[in-house]
Symmetry: C2
Subunit: 219 residues, 2 copies
């Protein structure tokens, strides 16, 4: 097990390496590996475990009955997915989870995780607090996506997304983690129309960009 990654992760933050063994014994996780492009979970299935990405990264996607795809987010190594569904018994997955690259996933039983196991593993409490923070952060990401898609115009959505990137990345020049098609999916707009709008915004001097690098011009 990669203890360094675990220690670095949000979920296991603040738990000492010595305690991790106890904790993992208590949680009894299952490790699985996946190929690039392989589906880890499919919409419609129930989910009893939460997933912790040990290596690689996964996409959270929604593919509706008519073939429209919407990229909801990406989960990198050290991050988790499915914790929400795993908390609500009987709830079925609304999204697909797919491996972007080869990856290893650690599946954690939510029932065991939420049950304090007497004194055997002293850091169990800490784990739960971390989980709550992780869920809160994820919640905020969802809220952010809602904000970014709330404006009716493509420009409004782009400005919402880019403004937040300025704050998040702490500067007016930054790199975004999406290509055009993915950004368009995230914002719920047509790619070419979005490219068009980006061009206009650049001509008007609002922004400059080159591939994935953006420069938002002042206030």
């Amino acid at each position: 097990m990669n203890y360094f990654l675990l220690g670095q992760s949000e979920l296991f933050a603040g738990i000492e390496a010595g305690e991790l063994d106890n904790l993992l014994d208590c949680l009894n996780p299952v490790k699985k590996t996946y190929q690039k492009g392989e589906y880890i979970c499919r919409a419609g299935e129930p989910l009893r475990f939460m997933g912790f990405v040990l290596s690689g990264s996964v996409n959270i996607e929604r593919n509706d009955a008519w073939g429209n795809q919407s990229l909801l987010g990406r989960v990198a190594a050290g991050e988790v997915f499915g914790e929400t569904y795993a908390c609500v018994p009987g709830e079925i997955l609304m999204v697909d989870v797919a491996a972007v690259e080869p990856c290893e996933i650690l599946f954690l039983d939510m029932g065991k995780l939420l049950t304090i196991c007497s004194s055997a593993c002293g850091f169990h409490n800490r784990l739960i607090q971390n989980l709550v923070r992780v869920m809160a952060a994820k919640n905020l990401n969802l809220s952010r996506k809602i904000n970014d898609t709330a404006p009716k115009s493509i420009r409004g959505r782009l400005l919402s997304y880019l403004s937040y990137q300025v704050v998040k990345q702490g500067g007016y020049k930054f790199e975004i983690p999406f290509n055009r098609q993915q950004l368009a999916d995230y914002l719920g707009v047509d790619r070419s129309a979005m490219s068009n709008e980006l061009s206009k915004m650049q001509r008007e001097g609002l922004i400059e960009y080159r591939r994935n690098w953006f420069w938002v011009k002042g206030e």
Copy 2:
């Protein structure tokens, strides 16, 4: 304090009346009252406490700089709001919280809530598990809103919303909790255009409706 409501709520579910006193002593909550239309929290503020609605109900709204309003949801008595923000120190509110009617709010300190207080209040663990489930449920609601606004067409959004109501309310005839303007805000579309689309769908025999009552016709 209304112990009956507390016992009925998700957050305090499974905690006996006798234990509630200990628990509340430990949490040391603050109670405030608000008038109809009054803002309980404003976007841009940080939030150190989570809110528990003792009576009345509140709207979660987003009002952007250009005056566009988007209704994100409603929180009724016995439900909570702001728990996400309260979990992430330094995070500022992206939304406004407004009283729909006169209401009483109990503010709970998240720091105290997440810290297990030795053996004094035995149901503290239960409270935390409840909180996690509440956050998960809220998370799913956000996901649902994202799903409902993912389709590009008004009809697609309506079908997404109505299909879920069928599942949620367990039947093809149901009442929705929004008026037309609020539903349009929730779906992120124009009210009159939505009315128009509803008419079309009724003419085509997909649905029937009368005010807030809807009847979704078959599969």
